[in-house]
């Protein structure tokens, strides 16, 4: 069984790249929509195809970043932790200020 296109080094599905590859695509559609799912371009065969497909010319992309967090995920994680810490501080302050008898 060959590897899936999503892990192949010839496969690219970045939405900005797809819109740049097909001028006019963004006039009445979008590469950022659900309908595209995670389909992309195979530069080996010049296909537009779904990421779950497989082929005999598969070459591993070496998981370059495949499982790592995306920059936006890192940011979201950072913001969430920061917001959580701030809100926790506010909660402690409210607790000590307005409900001192509980301590």
């Amino acid at each position: 069984m060959y590897g899936r296109c999503i892990s192949c080094r010839f496969f690219a599905n970045d939405p900005a790249l797809i819109e740049a590859t097909f001028p006019g695509l963004n006039v009445l559609s979008s590469a950022y929509g659900s309908v595209r799912s995670d389909a992309g371009i195979c530069s080996r065969h010049e296909f537009f195809l779904s990421s779950w497909q497989r082929c005999r010319d598969f070459e591993s992309g070496d998981n370059d970043g495949k499982d790592a967090l995306l920059p936006v995920e890192k940011k979201l994680s950072g913001y969430s932790i920061g917001l959580g810490a701030v809100l926790l501080g506010i909660l402690v302050w409210i607790s000590y200020t307005f409900f001192p008898t509980g301590h």
């Binding site: 970045d14 979008s30 929509g33 595209r36 296909f47 779904s50 495949k66």
Partner: protein, 456 residues
Amino acid sequence: MSNERGTTSSLGWKELYLKEDWWAIYLGIGIVIVSLIAFLNGSSVIKALAINPGGLKWSSLGQLMDHFSANIRWYALQLFSWLVIFGVSTRILGIKTSQFLPSFIILYVLSIIMFAIGGWVDAPKYNLEPPLVALIVGLVIANVVPLPKWMDAGFRVEYYIKTGIVLLGATFPIALVVSAGPVALLQATIISLTTCLTIYFVATKVFGLDKRLASVIGVGGAVCGVSASMAIASSVKAKKEDLYTSVTLVVVWALVMIFFIPFASKALNLSPGDAGAWVGTSEFADAAGFAAASAYGRMAGNENAAIQGFTLMKVIGRDMWIGIWSFVFALIACLKWEKEECGVKPSPMEIWWRFPKFVIGFFVASFFMTTITAGYSAADFNTLVKPGLLLPIVSLRSWAFIFCFLSIGLTTRFKDLKAAGWKPFGAFTIGVAINVVLGFVLSVFVFGSYWSNLGK
């Protein structure tokens, strides 16, 4: 957003923040909830923030200027609000903020001008309907002034129309969705199958085109234009140029239909509901269809009926089934076209992955607002709910739509479109002709009595 070779790993839950469909739901439902909270607390802030000059009926430039000078703070606050909600969400989607912001500001200024033109007291006399004017102005600018490509960052046609459709759901009675469902689905099934099979067989049997190209342009013409073409192209492993060909065909014919159907409807004196259903049956893309339906609705004096007819036919009748089309064609490609090559069968989950999720937002908004407003008497609904809650949402929806209509024109650069070749053009055009005639017959004669009652 993606790694060095431009690949984003399997989406899974990431779809919740990496797809504009979900953001359209968050924004649309968020606006509805904030509007409701303001309404229940007696605040008129959303009403003031939803300002637009479209209903002014001004007859002198002085009147128009007086309106702007009196409300400049609200317009500034409105622009800021749009910049924040669209700017943050597009940033998370992966669009550069440094490109989005200047582009969106220009779009906003042009939108105000479009609304102002629509608000001119003599605009109806000259058919100056904002959707059509916006489209023409956008087309002229994009093809005369060399707009840099990066400006497309702010001209997000699909994002704006999806947000507008979710907002539309808030003013769309759920009872109408339920009662209209069967008729819309039946009409959509007839038209989609007929159009797709016509284009497919003409393309393969008459013009001898490849079956993948035939399926890409066939479903593109039958279901939802470029989005459908993209879904089918990836399902059947089409060549890049097949998709590119379909993009050109759909864009060109969709632009023609934006003008043809409203003016043909006017010549035939169709009811707004009938015309809206016809647009929903025969137009190729949501954005283009809303422009056509809205334009004719305004010409006929009942925009709501035309938009209702269009939405029922296109969004509910046709768009929702793209996942099924995609799955079926993936199966055909795998089991029939490439038995030897196919390494893996498509999963039925394809139907969900491809589902245009913003439609969920439309249903949620419709159900939510119908439930909330059900407790009001007819008198309270007309004197309190309508002006205090629904009309501000309608105005914000109009903003989203005008952003979209302008963006269609501003992103259409004819010189960038690939020459489609006369054979694909011929096959697609025959499909278009059959689609338009059949769509008219179904909308006006077969189910006409039903559609013409909309909006009454």
